[in-house]
Symmetry: C2
Subunit: 344 residues, 2 copies
DNA sequence: TTGTATGCGTTATCAC
DNA sequence: GTGATAACGCATACAA
C-alpha cells in the first residue's frame, strides 16, 4: 500500500487487478465490451479496496452527471424546507440524485457565483435555483428558477399566483368592511413581493379606495421587520383597521406587537399573512393567510427540470401555481369607530 | 467567442485580460502578490464574462474545499428535515458551505458507495452521514455519523440516549399500573431501534414483569407497519393495555387503528411514541412521546465535524444526546378488567 | 510581479 | 476485448 495517496484511485484498482485503467473504468461504468472474467475480477478488487469513484474527477471529464442541484439561500426557513420536500418527493425514482447546496455565509456576493459554479461544470445535470441574485444564466444552462427576482426570467420558472392571492385577501378584507388596510412589504428584490404588493394596490383600486402611502411599510419577509413595521403602522394617528403582511413570518410579528399594545385580534385589528406556514394554523387566533402550496412548486420545478433535460423546449417560461385564501380567525368586521364616515 | 466550449474557463478570462492563467488563478483566489492594476482588470473581465470557477476542477486540484457534506438517505421525512435544520443552523458563519446529498434511488447498495465518493475526493472538507449502511470508513476520512448502524462506530458519532428514553417510558407506563405493554420495534438495523428495545426490556425487568414475546412486533419505523403491528397486537386474546411504539410514525398508526377498532385512547388503550415529531402535539389526544432533540443532534454533529477539521482528536467517540419524556394525553390508568390479578 | 510546466482522477479516442 | 494517451479546468512549484 502506497502511503502517498490517502484515497484509493482507479489506478490502484487497475494495478491490483492486473489490468489497465481503461479497463477498470469500463468495469466501473458497466460498459458491455469487457470479458466476464475480467469484469468479475475488477469488481472484486473494487470491493476489497473499498474503491469509490471521485465524483469531482468523474463529472469533470464526462460532462454528464445524474445529479440535480438545488440551490437555496438557506435551509432552516420553513419556506425553503417545503421546497426541499417538494423537490425531494418529485425526484424519487427519477433516476437522479439530489444535491442541495446552501452557502454558510450570510448570502453575500459570492453566493451568486458559487451556484453557477455548481452547474457550469458537469457536477450536476441541471440546477433548480431559489431566489437567485443573478437573473441571467449562461446560454445552454439547464436551469429552473423558483420565485425569480425581477420580472422576466429567461429560463423556465415557477412562481405562485402572488398577485391573485393578494387580490383575494383584499376582496375579503374590503368585503368585511375594512377601508384602512395597512400593508407590510416583502423583500423588494423578489418577484413575489412585487406581485403581492400589486395585488394589494389592485384590490384597493377595484374597490375605489384611494391608495394611502402612509399605510405602506417596507419589509423583508422577516419576523423582526414585521415587529417594527407593525409598531409603526399601529402608532399612526389614524391606524389601519387591518394589516396585510406580505408573508406569514411578518404577520406573526404583527400579532405579537398587537398583543403587546393591548390590541385584541381580530376584535381591534384584523391580520392577514401569506404562505400558510404550518405554525399559522396553531397560532391563536389562527392566522388568515394565503396558501401557495410551496411544496407543489418544488414538484413542478422538478418536473420542468426533467423536461428540460429531455431536451424539450418549454413554451410557458413562467409556470404559475394557484393560490387560495385560507380563512381563519384573525379577521373580523372593523371596529365601528374606525369606519370611514363615507361608508356610514 | 469560441463556440467550442459552452462554459467559460479561467483560460478564457486570462486571454481576454491579456494575462496568463496563473495570474487569473491568483486573482480568483485573492492572492496578495498581484499588481492592483492587473487585479482590477482581471476582476472586471471575470464580471463581464460572467465567469465562475468550476467547483469540481477546483476541489480536485486542491484537496481542500470549504464545504461540509451532509448525507441523508432521504429528505422528506421529518426526522431528516430536523437534522438538516440543525446542521443548517450550526453551519452559519462557520465559513463552510453546506452540501446535502441524497440518492434518488430507493437507497440501494449503490448508496453507500456514492456517499463515500463525495468525501473521498476533495469535494467536501468532511461529511456528516446519517444512518450509513457501511459502518467502516477509510482511515483518514473526516466523517461524523448520526445514529449509526450496529453498535461500535470507529468515527465520531452522535446518538440519542435511546435506551434511557425508552426506560423512562416504561417507568411511566408501569407507574400508571400497566402490566401488559406491547412493543412495536423500529428498523432492526439501526442502533436507535436496538437501544429502544433494550430500554423496553430493562423497564420490564426493573419492575419484575416477565417478558412476553407475544407482545413484541417487529417494525420498520413506518406508519404503514405501525398499522399492521397495532392490529396484530390488539387482536391478541389478551391484548396489551398499552402500546409503546419505537417511533412516533408507528405510534400514529396505532392511534388510527385503535380508532378504527372502536377503542378510545387513552381510556381503553394507552399509546406512547418516540421522537416528538411536531405533529404528535397536534394529534388528539396529544401523543405521549420521547423528545430526543433531533435538531440538537445536527448541531452537535456539526460541532464535532468542526473539531475534527481542526485536527483535534476526540476522546468520546460516541456523543449521547439526552432524551426526555413528553407526557401528553395518550396515556391513562389501564382499564380495570385488564389489570393483572396479582396487582389486585 | 508574472509566466511555464506539471499533475489532480477520470473518461474518450484511437490504436492494437 | 484491451491498452496507451490525451484531454477536462484548475492550482502550484519553479523559473524568469
Amino acid at each position: 500500500m502506497r502511503t502517498k495517496h490517502p484515497t484509493v484511485r482507479i489506478q490502484d484498482v487497475a494495478r491490483a487487478a492486473g489490468v489497465s485503467v481503461t479497463t477498470a473504468s469500463r468495469v466501473l461504468n458497466n460498459k458491455d465490451d469487457v470479458a466476464p472474467a475480467t469484469y468479475a475480477k475488477v469488481r472484486r478488487v473494487m470491493q476489497e479496496l473499498n474503491y469509490t469513484a471521485s465524483l469531482a474527477a468523474k463529472s469533470m471529464r464526462s460532462h454528464t452527471a445524474n445529479v440535480i442541484g438545488l440551490l437555496v439561500p438557506e435551509v432552516v426557513e420553513v419556506y425553503h424546507q417545503e421546497i426541499i420536500k417538494g423537490v425531494g418527493e418529485a425526484i424519487r425514482n427519477s433516476g437522479y440524485d439530489l444535491m442541495i447546496y446552501t452557502p454558510g455565509r450570510p448570502t453575500g456576493a459570492t453566493w451568486e457565483q458559487e451556484h453557477v459554479a455548481l452547474l457550469s461544470n458537469g457536477l450536476t445535470a441541471g440546477c433548480i435555483v431559489v431566489t437567485p441574485s443573478a437573473p441571467r444564466f449562461p446560454e445552454g444552462a439547464k436551469v429552473v428558477v423558483i420565485d425569480p427576482q425581477g420580472d422576466g426570467a429567461d429560463v423556465p420558472s415557477v412562481v405562485a399566483r402572488n398577485r391573485v392571492g393578494a387580490l383575494a385577501v383584499m376582496e375579503y378584507l374590503i368585503g368585511l368592511g375594512h377601508r384602512r388596510i395597512g400593508f407590510i412589504g416583502g423583500r423588494a428584490d423578489t418577484l413575489s413581493a412585487i406581485r403581492r404588493f400589486q395585488g394589494y394596490k389592485d384590490g384597493l383600486a377595484a374597490a375605489g379606495i384611494a391608495f394611502d402611502s402612509a399605510l405602506i411599510v417596507a419589509g423583508d419577509y422577516s419576523y423582526e421587520r414585521g415587529l417594527v413595521a407593525a409598531h409603526q403602522l399601529l402608532s399612526l394617528p389614524a391606524p389601519p383597521t387591518a394589516i396585510f403582511a406580505a408573508n406569514d413570518r411578518s404577520a406573526m410579528g404583527v400579532l405579537d406587537v398587537a398583543q403587546r399594545m393591548g390590541l385584541h385580534v381580530p376584535q381591534d385589528l384584523s391580520v392577514v399573512g401569506f404562505d400558510n406556514l404550518p405554525e399559522t394554523a396553531q397560532a391563536v387566533p389562527g392566522l388568515t393567510t394565503v396558501d401557495q402550496s410551496i411544496r407543489e412548486m418544488g414538484h413542478i420545478a422538478m418536473d420542468l427540470m426533467l423536461r428540460v433535460l429531455r431536451g424539450e423546449t418549454l413554451e410557458p417560461q413562467l409556470v404559475k401555481v394557484s393560490t387560495r385564501l385560507i380563512v381563519r380567525g384573525s379577521c373580523q368586521l372593523p371596529p365601528t369607530h374606525y369606519r370611514s364616515p363615507s361608508t356610514t
